[in-house]
Structure formats: C-alpha cells, structure tokens
C-alpha cells in the first residue's frame, strides 16, 4: 500500500480522539500522523493516501486550519491521490449544517483532481441539511460526539476497514 497519513488538528479534543481510533483501526505502524495546524504543502504532497479530519465549525464552515490551507490546495495537482475524510458534527445543535465541512473539503480536493473515497450511509442520523451528502450518502464518515458518541467506535472500525481496501 502507498504511504498513508492521517491529518488532524492536535489542538482538538474530540477530533484528536477519533483520529487515534482511526489510527488504531488502520494499524498504527501503517499510518503517519500530521498536525493540521502546522501542515506544509510538501508534507501534504508526500502521501498518496490521506485521511483528513474535517469537523464542521459554526454554521457550516471549515475550521481555520483547513480554511487557511485551502489556497495552497488550490494550486496543487492532486491527480493520483486518494483521500478519505471524516468529520465531527452536532446533529441536534446544528441540524441545518450537519457535516457541511466534509462536503466543502471534498469539492475542493476533487476540483484539483483528487479521488475521494469512503462514502457512508446517512441511515441512523437525524438532521435537516448537509453539504456533506451526495447521492443520499455522506461523502465521508460523519461522527457525532455530542449525541451519538456510543456509535463512534463501531462506525470508525467499519469505515477504516472499507477505506483500507480502497486505498491503493
């Protein structure tokens, strides 16, 4: 398998916790870890398989550490690279924008030629709107630490199993 990394903000609590679970499920020795807060273009481009932690902030925005990296992505050629995205959201508190950020990031990456894998079913979630949904499926893995924390482990395990198969 090509070189794989998971990227998340080391300043976060919930996202960092999930990232650890992803690494465990993936096999810690098979995956590198990068801090999204200090990410460089070179680091980003050094991997062919990338798992991004993209939580939804405010009423449907990327967190700053990703938003500030987007101008760099917009100049990259990401053909041949495969991404899988997971994100945290709050179905009850922000039902209008549940998982918007994974959709926003998917669009940005695909525009640069990247392949985004890891879509999941929307079954079991209750929300009103999401930019993270395409063809009735989430474009990545949605987790809800506020309302469905007990489902996180299982969701991560199932998802990682799937994306691992699809990574080149």
């Amino acid at each position: 398998m090509n070189k794989t990394a998971v990227i998340y903000s080391f300043n976060t609590k919930n996202s960092a916790k999930v990232a650890e679970k992803v690494k465990d499920a993936f096999g810690k020795s098979e995956i590198d870890t990068l801090n999204a807060e200090e990410l460089t273009e070179d680091q980003f481009l050094a991997y062919d398989n990338l798992i991004l932690s993209v939580p939804t902030w405010f009423d449907g925005e990327l967190p700053n550490y990703w938003d500030e990296f987007v101008p760099a992505i917009e100049d990259m050629n990401l053909k041949g690279k495969t991404f899988a995205i997971f994100g945290l959201g709050d179905q009850k508190g922000y039902p209008e924008n549940f998982g918007d950020a994974i959709g926003i990031m998917t669009n940005i990456l695909e525009k640069q030629g990247a392949k985004v894998i890891g879509e999941t079913s929307t079954k079991g979630y209750t929300y009103e709107n999401s930019r993270g949904v395409r063809n009735n499926k989430f474009v990545g893995l949605m987790l809800d630490a506020e309302n469905q924390d007990d489902l996180t482990d299982e969701r991560v395990k199932t998802w990682v199993k799937e994306i691992k198969k699809k990574f080149g």
């Binding site: 938003d67 500030e68 101008p71 209008e96």
Partner: protein
Amino acid sequence: MENTILEKKQKAEENQDIEINSEELEVKKKYSIKTTDKQTLEKWFRLMVLGRALDDRAPNYLKQAIGWSYHAPYAGHDGIQLAIGQVFNKDTDHLFPYYRDMMTALSAGLTPEEIIFNGISKDTDVAGGGRHMSNHFAKPEWNIHNVSSATGNHTLHAVGVGRAMKVYNHKGVSISSQGESSVSEGYVYEAINGASNEQLPVIFVFQDNGYGISVPKKDQTANRKVADNFTGLKNLRIIHTNGKDLFDSMNAMEEAKQWVIENQKPCIVHANCIRIHSHSNSDRHELYRDDYELNYVKEYDPLGKFRRLLTRYKRFTEEELQAIEAETKEIVKKAHRTALAAPDPDPESIYDFVLPPAYEPKKFKDGLPDGSGEKLKLVEALNQTLKEEFRKNPDTFIWGQDMANKDKGGIFNVSKGMQQEFGETRVFNGPIAEDYILGTANGMSRFDDKIRIVVEGAEFADYFWPAMEQFVELTHDYWRSKGQFSPNVVVRLASGGYIGGGLYHSQNIEGALTTFPGIRVVYPSYADDAAGLLRTAMRSQGPTIFMEPKSLYNSPIAAANVPEDFEVPFGKLRVRKEGKDLTIITYGNTTHMCINVAEKLEKEFPDYSIEVIDLRSLIPLDEEGIIESLKKTGKALIVHEDKVFGGFGGEVASMINEKAFEYLDGPVRRVGSTFTPVGFNRILEKAILPDEERIYKAAAELLQY
C-alpha cells in the same frame, strides 16, 4: 393535450419575473490571498489594524470618564464590515450602518479622528455633533446615514432610497447593515417584502454573531440562518458568506452589488460572524458564555486569520506587518490627541435644528384669503392643491393604502384622478403596512433634497400607531444629524369622529403626536385653510402631520372660496369671528360648532361678543395670536374634539397660565371628549364627543363668571 398544457405552463413561467434560486447562482471568486494585488492587501491590513486599535481603545474613554459610554465592539465582524465599506461608493451608493459598524465606517472612508469624535460626542462629530449616541457612526454628506438606535428600522429607509434610485434611473445601490437578531423586528420583514415586491436595488447585510445582547439566536427564529426565512420571497437573491473571512466577504459583497445593479432586484448577504467581546460595555458576556466558547471565538479572530494568511503565503514579511502595526499605533495616538482637543457641543445650541426651514408664503403672508377663487368643498380643495403642486413640481410623490385603482382615488377620494394624470411612478398604492409607508417616505427623501413626498399615513388616523416608530425617526432626523438631513414628508391623516365610525374610525391622535419635538402638526377646519396649509407643507423642508377632519370632507359648512395659489403660513392662527368678551380657541371639527355657539350666545346676550380663534397650526403654535386675543377678552375657552384629559388643549391652557395670566378675568375652561374611546353606536358617540350643547354651557358659564 398533455403537451399543450406543458407548453402553456412553460410559457406562463417564462412570462413571469425570474424566480431566483440562490443555490444555482455561484459567487465569483474575485479575491483570494494569492490573487489580490499587494497594494490592496496592504490597504486592507492597515484598515483592519487601525479599526481594531480603535475598537480596543474605545472602552478606555469610558474608564477615564471622557465619554464613549456606549461602545459595541465589532471584533469578529472584521471581514464583512471591511467588505461593506470597500464596495460602498459615496458618489453612487447609500449606506445605512448599524451601531456595531465601526469597521464599516472606517472602510467606507471615515478618518480615525471622525470615529473618535463620534465616540466621545464632540461638536466636530460628522454624524451630528455629538447629538446622537456614541458608536453610531455616520457621515450624511457622503450618504452614510445617521441611523436610529431602534436597530434595523433603517431597512425601511434603505428601501426608500432604493425606490428613488429606480425612479430616477440612478446606477447605484442602497446598503443596509444590521445584526441578525434585529431581523426579528416586523419592520425588517416589511422592508424586505417591499424591496422584493417593488424590485429595488437594495443589499440587506445580516451580520450574524449568534447573539442579540445575551439572547442566543435560537430564541429569535427557528432557522439558524435567519436569511433562510426569506427564501420564499420572489425577486430576492440570498448569499451566505463567512463574515470572519475577508476574501469570502469581499467576494460576496462584490457579487451582491454587481447582481443588484444589473438585475435591479434586492439581495440579502448573510454573514456568519463571531462576537469576540461582550455586546457592549454594559454587558458581561462571561455570565452567559462558557470558557470554551470565549476561547474559541478568540482563536477565530478574523484579523489573526488575515495576518497569518499574509505571511503564510509570503505576501508580506513579518517585519513589514510589524512596521504597519507600529505606524498605526502612531496614527491612533495622533487621532486621540486631536479628538481630545476638539470642541464640545455648545449647550446653547440645543434649539438649533429642531425644525427645518418652512416655506414662507409669498402671496398670502398671513394666510388670509382675498375672497377670490371658486368655492370648494374641503375634499375638493385638497385634491386640487395636490394636483397643482404635482404639476408645478415633478419631484413630488404620493402613496398610501387604497391610494389609486382605476376610478378610485383614495378611500375618501382625496387623490382621485391623480394616478391618471401623474402616472403610477408618482402616485401609487402602498401595502397594508403603515410603518413601511412612512419609513420608505423618510428613506426616499434621503436620495435628494428636492424630493417632496405626501403619504396617507393610514386609512384612518386610528391606524397610524404601527407607524409610530417611524414617526419618531421623522421627528429626530433633522436634530440628530445637526441639520444635515430633513425628511421632506407630509403625512396626511383622516381624523376624528361624528361619522358613527367607532373605536378605529373616529379617534383623534394629535394629543399624542404633538408631544414630539421636530414635527409640524396642522389641523384645518375649512377648505381654504386646508389648501393653503397643504401647499405650504409640500413646499417646506421637514415633516408635517396634516390632520384632515374627515366628517367635513364633503360638508357644505367647511366649503370656502379658495384663491389661486392660496398659502397659509405655519404657526398663524385665524380669527374666524371677532369678539371682546370671550376667546374660544379651537381647531378642526369643533371650529364650526364654536362659531354657531358664539352666534347663538350673542343673539341671546346682545351685550356680549365672542371671538373664535381657529388655531390651524398646533405645532408651531401661534402663542402671540392667542395672547393678543386674551388681552382683549380676558377669558379663554379651549375646545377640541379630542379628549380633554391628555388633549392638546392642556398645553394651550398651560401656556395661557404661564404667559397670559395677568390678562385673565376667569379660569381657563376646556371642552372636549370624555376620557373614553369613541363608541360605535350613535347614542354612545353623542355621549362621548363634544357638541354645541356642551360648548354653549361652558361658554355661557365663563361669560357670566
């Protein structure tokens, strides 16, 4: 068959106005950290650093007891506010900022000195010389309007300006800015509905920081993004943007402006912001926001983000940015010193700019007719005068409820035939929304001082109350802006009873309206005075409330010969009948009753003669004329249709008491309605409203006192 139906449907849809689907329209990405030229980036950074330095410094003025007692910090709204100011062009656009819009004002061109002048309420404050509350930044000279603290009510003014832009084929945009919580106000819905219906070039910016003081937005409306409440309105585009991000905000505002001008339709820009600090210096946000929230809003500081982008993408070096920051500190220090040395307002100036200059009659200086002219009923005189003024002045407009539809011209026919003669652009119906009718009149008159507007404030004066908050604005504007803006609006109101109209078609409201400084209130009783006062009001600067005694519209007793171009000055009473033993001071419906009573008494008591004074103008009041009459008669009876308790007569009586006591030979008496609503049943109405019997009794008693 099916095809035909489909074709018909398609054709019908094509013929309709475009329905805007916001999702389908993309915002062009004109600005980004990599593509924006360095000079522009530097300008923006300088503005953002300068704004924040002033925003952070503002509370110190209060701590040092210098001023700025109201400061609503903008930190967290930096992106959208800078963008609003940048797209605003003072030569073509109008801007209505709200009390948190310091960055908007700076970005639109106000200097740091001008910001501090306003903050510490100096005479040099360009918004209005320290008359309005601090943190209400404005520069009327540049069409950056001095707005109310009743937040969001300037949306109606922005719509009024938008209407003027459309009428005068002006290429520009009217921009209104407000917090998301104030969208809850009914008048905001009226404004956006009106802009959508009239298809006006207005941008409504909602700066959404999640709170109305301490109230979270979930307590305001069900949608988290209040702009989504408007998705059903036709002709309206909605753009969502990240108000914390300068580039997103610039792209959104540029797109909105271009689209609005090209399509001549309104647009909402909903900007997601954060409030880094408390609502204002009287609020303590730590009482309702936890540490986690207080921490992350600081992390998402828009200025911090912009600064990081500038260095990350190597547009500026750290040293370059530090140099700008150091220069800014000096600029702020200098502005501070200049502001402290600036003069304070002069307490003697409080009476300046209460009322704008009135038109001074040229032919009929005292407002007395010369016997010429055709005899007209009151309604005919109003209709004729409106038409004559509309013919003379192409910048006149009239609207209201039930104003014009084919042969109908107003509920009482006052505007009959006007739409046919002057067209639908100048004579048109308003929605059943009194606040909208009045607020957009105020707004439209901001576009050009030459514009003169007449509105039917409500179908009946009784329905005027929903417009009261706009009435208050009308009375404040001239004083608040230190004479820089006068709303040139005449508000016609069909008033009073004696028609069996009941509680909502018979009330007199001048007792309430005359308590507000900054507006003229007139109340004619005869056709000639109605014509003369209306002409004067329409030629004057500033607002006038024009009360029309509706029971006299078609009454022969109010008919009079109306000379050509008849004019009546404000504040000039008319002696309707001379006398030496008693002065009856009256106006409106009761003038006619008083004359009858006077004549009856004189017949019964030939030794007495009674003077009847028709005030015509309540504000300004002809105090001198009243006193002159009392010098002669020594006795005063004040009669009006409105309630005695709380009626305007109370002010007249007090004035007489203070200024003419030594001429009196008896107590000042008053006759008017009972302190009850006006009942519908004629028996009740008769028991409530004053009549000749009651006036006779009071007059006879006073004569014999």
